[in-house]
Symmetry: C2
Subunit: 280 residues, 2 copies
């Protein structure tokens, strides 16, 4: 059995390697459509406070022909949880120490036919350890065929690992990405899981890797299918209004945003997800 330190190292390495792969593929898509050499710009940040340390890298590509704004963050931080916060976290009975590493991505597109994409996975260790993550898509123009394709891909990937995963992880996603003040779902849903530890680390890691890889497959597929579709000014306005709801969700309800702000996280990393342009 692997030591916890080796597990941390392998998880971190994977998130970085996935980040590189995604950024490469997205830059290739930009090159394909416009022959431009538009690249992600990378910003590193470090955190060294009394209660936590570590850092991360923010990769952002703006004003592409396909991507209006896409951000991919990786981070590795450690520290001790606040008294109030630790009550909610498994494995903190004897020590409030934690370690966390992950990747998160949000993409907003020029073409309103392409849904906004959100994906993240993470590995967290206290005296216990677990994986979490998932993805969801937010179209502004409904597309039943795309929704079916998206959920089929997710189900196929989940089923490879556990026949119960898709149903449970889809339900988590539906419950979480919901705007109560508007009584509406954020988008077409997806899958989300947390506290995943089946006592088989290799297996859980493999699932988390597959979730990352199927995200990349789905993203490329949806983008390539739609990037050349025409759109109207009216559809672009609809997209900006839909993005306003994205902002509402992220600022009013998202646990990650709240946690980040409450613990003095990196503002640029936390707000990486916010759209390049939104309209109320």
């Amino acid at each position: 059995m692997k030591s916890i330190n080796l597990k941390k190292k392998l998880a971190s390495q994977w998130f970085r390697s996935l980040r590189n792969q995604i950024c490469d593929e997205f830059e290739k898509l930009e090159k394909k459509i416009s022959n431009s050499k538009i690249k992600f710009s990378k910003t590193k940040w470090k955190k060294s406070k009394s209660k936590s340390e570590g850092g991360g890298e923010i990769c952002i590509l703006r004003n592409g022909k396909i991507f209006e704004k896409v951000g991919v963050n990786i981070s590795e931080v450690s520290g001790t949880f606040d008294k109030n916060f630790k009550k909610k976290i498994p494995g903190t009975e004897k020590s409030s120490k934690f370690w966390a590493s992950g990747i998160s991505l949000v993409a907003h597109f020029q073409n309103p036919n392409i849904p906004s994409l959100h994906f993240n996975t993470r590995f967290i260790a206290t005296s216990k350890h677990w994986f979490g993550g998932g993805m969801d898509v937010t179209p502004c123009i409904p597309d039943k065929k795309q929704k079916k394709y998206f959920h089929n891909e997710l189900k196929n990937t989940c089923d490879l690992h556990n026949k119960k995963y898709y149903k449970i992880h889809k339900l988590n996603c539906d419950q979480y990405f919901f705007l109560p003040h508007r009584n509406e779902a954020r988008g077409d849903g997806g899958i989300f899981y947390d506290y995943l530890n089946t006592n088989n680390w290799e297996k859980d890691f493999l699932y988390t890797k597959d979730v990352g890889l199927v995200f990349l497959k789905i993203a490329k597929n949806i983008i390539q299918k739609k990037m050349s579709q025409k759109w109207t000014e009216k559809e672009k306005i609809k997209q900006l209004e839909k993005r306003a709801r994205y902002v509402e969700f992220n600022l009013l309800f998202d646990r990650g945003t709240k946690f980040g702000l409450a613990t003095g996280g990196n503002i640029d990393a936390i707000f990486m997800s916010l759209p390049p342009l939104a309209s109320w």
Copy 2:
């Protein structure tokens, strides 16, 4: 001494009459610059739930030559406070009943030289009653002369009523309109007051009226001075980024937004303040 019912009636009438005056004057400004007959559109809403009733009117003008979006709400609602909420409200020891009426306004301009403007005043009654309100301005291009003019006008108005008001009400405003996650003030400040009851209702009402009238005076003055100034694309981008911080404040911290959403308020009225376009 006036009965509480008469006080409520007079306050409500004032908010409505001020709303009419402001909308008239703003429409006149639009006509002056472009000879267009662009008008506010009015939406009425009603609320009739177990715990509260009443309603209001949302007046919005969009896509003017001067105003990119300006919303002016008036409302009159009554009901009973939730157990948790009433603890924070004076005069609710024996009964959780409340009555509230007010006017609120947020204006976002085409020209990035004109600051975003925010103003509101209200009269609230439980077994006690009080006035509250104020205004603040948020420039995206700093203008020391304008800031000085703005605060001078406020001080002069405050001083007519009580020599201590300006200092206290300015401090309230500075403390409230602050973005802790960015460690920055929202804008140039202004004045805000709450729970104002000096045992002289006429006097407090007069102050609240004067705050409304000086807002209109200041708004007209700033707009007329700047509406013909040229601006660059770069300044417009800066404005959209500054507006993003306006959204962050209103969704992450504003008490009015939180209260409105938690009590099932009218979404369009609550989000009237959000900008027509913002950029992250």
